[in-house]
Structure formats: structure tokens, C-alpha cells
Amino acid sequence: MKKTILLGMLGCLCFAVSVRAQLQKGTKYVGGTVSFSGYNNRPNKEVDQPTNFNQISFNPSLQVGSFVKDKVMVGVGAGAALYFGWTKSKFSGALPDFKENRQTYSLSPFIRHYKSLSPKWAIFLNSSAEFLFLRSRMNVVPFDIIENGFAAGIQIIPGISYWISPRFALESDINLLSLSTGYRNFQDTKSLYFTSAATSNLNSYFSIRASWYLQKP
């Protein structure tokens, strides 16, 4: 009889601590990632009409959220994809310098459902609504062409988290398994899109994000 009660209590204890501290209601979340790339091309000295070509792309993103109940987080993400390209010619009779930039700014409120796999691993499903502002600018004297557009859609993407310490985790959205759909209006084209990894050109299958899970003290 004592054994049964003892085992029963142990069983209840297991249930009670099955939600890890990091995924409990009230935990706050901050996550972010950044990537950039670019190049600078300079012609050799012997080229008689030298033009320098330069390009840089920069993509930061930040998410903040809070667990509204155990294993469910609600939050908002903000991100940007910025591209700048420019040329410089330093010889007489050169065509005017060309400057181009493309910017995408996004705001995406999301809800994320977690499933804990072990003390250090968890998987999640991220469902978000995305609102994007798109802008492109091409500047070659005397022309300066600016175009603005927008897009809105929803996206579902699974992911995985690994806790390196109780407050810090590395997470990855598995772009390979994402689904998104929406409407885009930019550069005189209006389009409805539905993409999954099978139909879109992915340059990365998993993107990594640094995240902090901050419990109430």
C-alpha cells in the first residue's frame, strides 16, 4: 500500500516537472540573427576604362516574445533585407556612376508551439503573419527611379532548439519544411504566391538564430 502511494506520488511529480523552466508561462524570449555578404571589384591598372563595382547585402532580424501558457509563445519579429550596389568610374568620358539599393522591411507577429524532447532539445512549430514593405531605388544621373511595394502573407515553419545553457539556446528554422502563402504588389506586378521548399529556390536549408529564454527571477 505504501509502495503504491509512493509510486503514485513519484508519477505525479514527473508530470508536474515535465514542463521545463525555459518553456513555462511567463518566460520572456529574445532571439536574433544577422547575415551579410558583399564584394568589391577593382580593375587592374592596365585596363583603360576602369570601373569599380561594389555590392553589399545585409540581413538582420530580431524576435521578442513571451510564453502566454506552458509551451506556447506569442511574439513579434522584425527583419530587414538590404542590398546596395554601386559603381565608380574614374576616367574622363566615363558614364555617370550607377547606384542601386533594394530594401525589404518585415514585421511578423507569430505564435510558436513547443514540444520538449529532452532537457536540452525541443522542437517547435512557428505560425506567423508577415507584413512586408518593399522598396527599390536606381540612381544614374539624371534618372532616379524609386519604387515602393508591399506584401502580406502567412507562413508556417518548423524548427528545433538546443540549449547550451539554461538561458541561452541556438535555434534553427527548418526552411526546408516551410510553407508560405501571400500577396505581393511590387514593380508593376501583383502576384499571389504559394511556396514550399519544393518549389522555391532555397539558398539555405537551416538558418541559425541565437536566443535567450529569460525566466522571471
Binding site: 540573427t33 551579410f36 555578404s37 564584394y39 585596363v47 536549408y205 538558418s207
Partner: protein, 216 residues
């Protein structure tokens, strides 16, 4: 349960990967690509779950590439540029962290830093399909990469390994480029600095290898 102790054991590893690809876009040109990469490394386990070492890498790639240009009268001219089109050699240092599941199987992963020298040439048809140009590049690159793999220990001194993913989060390279259209000999030479920080994983190829534990 005491797993095999690896601390202070030294090893020689070799691994090779091959990749194939085929692209068949709507217009005339279709390409088949093939390539291999091969590396040998020497390392030592500092603790039961951490190994460090040096590696030499080598890769080669080529393809079957056919291009067509059209002159003013619309007459097509075909170019067969099939064959090897890139080659690289490099050296680097790696750190690997292990998780041994049992006496036979485990996974490992970790960073490495590599200095690589590569040569490539790529052909390009102009947007009006009138000219074909050849773009050669000699590149020297310093990169930080991440790789992961799994191993199977089939005897006391031998492992079989497979690499399952890798990424190049940080890369910096300096290239010497030369570009000319094939119809004239006017070369446009330039030099270029490329840089990137991109924390993501891709699966470009799977490699398999062998590891031999020597001495002790």
C-alpha cells in the same frame, strides 16, 4: 557502462565525397555537373570527447557544358566547354566535439578554419546571345566552417565516418579575375574582395571516410 576510452589516442583520417547535379533550364543550354572532394587529416583526442587536428583538402569539379551563340545573320555557333572547370587545394585546423552513444556509434561536430587556393573558369553567353565570354578566377580564401558527422567503430583501430552537414558561416576571399569574349583576345582583368557572414546550414555533399588509430 564504460565506453571505449579515446583520450590521448591519435588518428589519421581520410574522407571523400562526390556530387552530381543536372540542370535543364528551358532554353538551349543544359548542364551536367560532377565533382569530388577529398581530405586527409591527422588528429588527437585531447579528452574522451574532444579532438583537434590538421587537415589537407582537395576538390575538383567539372561538367558537360554546351553553349550556343548566334551571329548577325542568325546562324548558330556551338561551343563545347565540357570538362574540368574548377580545382582547389587547402589546409586547415579543426576541432571536433563528440557524443558517443555506445561502444560502436557516435556523432561529432565542430568548427574548423581553412586557407584554400582555387582556380576556376566559367563560361557565360551574353544576354543578346551574340557573344560567349570566358571568366577565369584564381582565388585565395580564409574561412571558418562548421561540419558534423557520425562514426561507426568497426574495430579497435578503425572507424567508418560519414559527414552529414556543413556550413561556412564566415568566409573572406581575394580573387584575381580575368574575363574575355572568345571572339577577340581583349582580356578584362580585375581583382575582387568577397566577404560573407551567414549562419546557416546547407547540404552540398555527403562524404564517407575511414579513420585509423595508430600507436598506443
Amino acid at each position: 557502462m564504460l565506453f571505449a576510452q579515446f583520450e590521448d589516442k591519435q588518428f589519421l583520417s581520410g574522407s571523400a565525397g562526390i556530387n552530381f547535379g543536372n540542370t535543364n533550364p528551358e532554353n538551349v543550354m543544359s548542364t551536367n555537373n560532377y565533382g569530388y572532394n577529398f581530405d586527409i587529416s591527422i588528429g588527437k583526442f585531447k579528452t574522451n570527447t574532444k579532438a583537434v587536428g590538421w587537415r589537407l583538402t582537395n576538390s575538383l569539379g567539372g561538367g558537360k557544358s554546351l553553349y550556343t551563340t548566334y551571329d548577325q545573320t542568325g546562324l548558330p555557333k556551338e561551343y563545347d566547354k565540357s570538362g574540368i572547370n574548377n580545382i582547389s587545394i587547402g589546409a586547415g585546423r579543426f576541432w571536433q566535439f563528440y557524443k558517443h552513444f555506445n561502444d560502436k556509434i557516435g556523432i561529432f561536430g565542430g568548427p574548423g578554419i581553412d586557407l584554400t587556393f582555387s582556380k576556376a573558369h566559367v563560361y557565360e553567353v551574353s544576354s543578346d546571345s551574340r557573344y560567349i565570354s570566358e571568366n577565369k578566377s584564381d582565388k585565395i580564401q580564409l574561412s571558418v566552417g562548421l561540419s558534423a558527422g557520425l562514426y561507426y567503430r568497426f574495430s579497435e583501430k578503425w572507424w567508418v565516418t560519414g559527414s552529414i552537414a556543413f556550413s561556412n558561416p564566415i568566409a573572406l576571399d581575394y580573387s584575381f579575375l580575368s574575363s574575355n569574349t572568345l571572339t577577340d583576345d581583349n582580356k578584362y582583368k580585375s581583382h575582387q574582395l568577397n566577404y560573407s557572414l551567414s549562419p546557416n546550414f546547407t547540404f552540398p555533399s555527403v562524404g564517407f571516410g575511414l579513420r585509423y588509430f595508430y600507436n598506443r
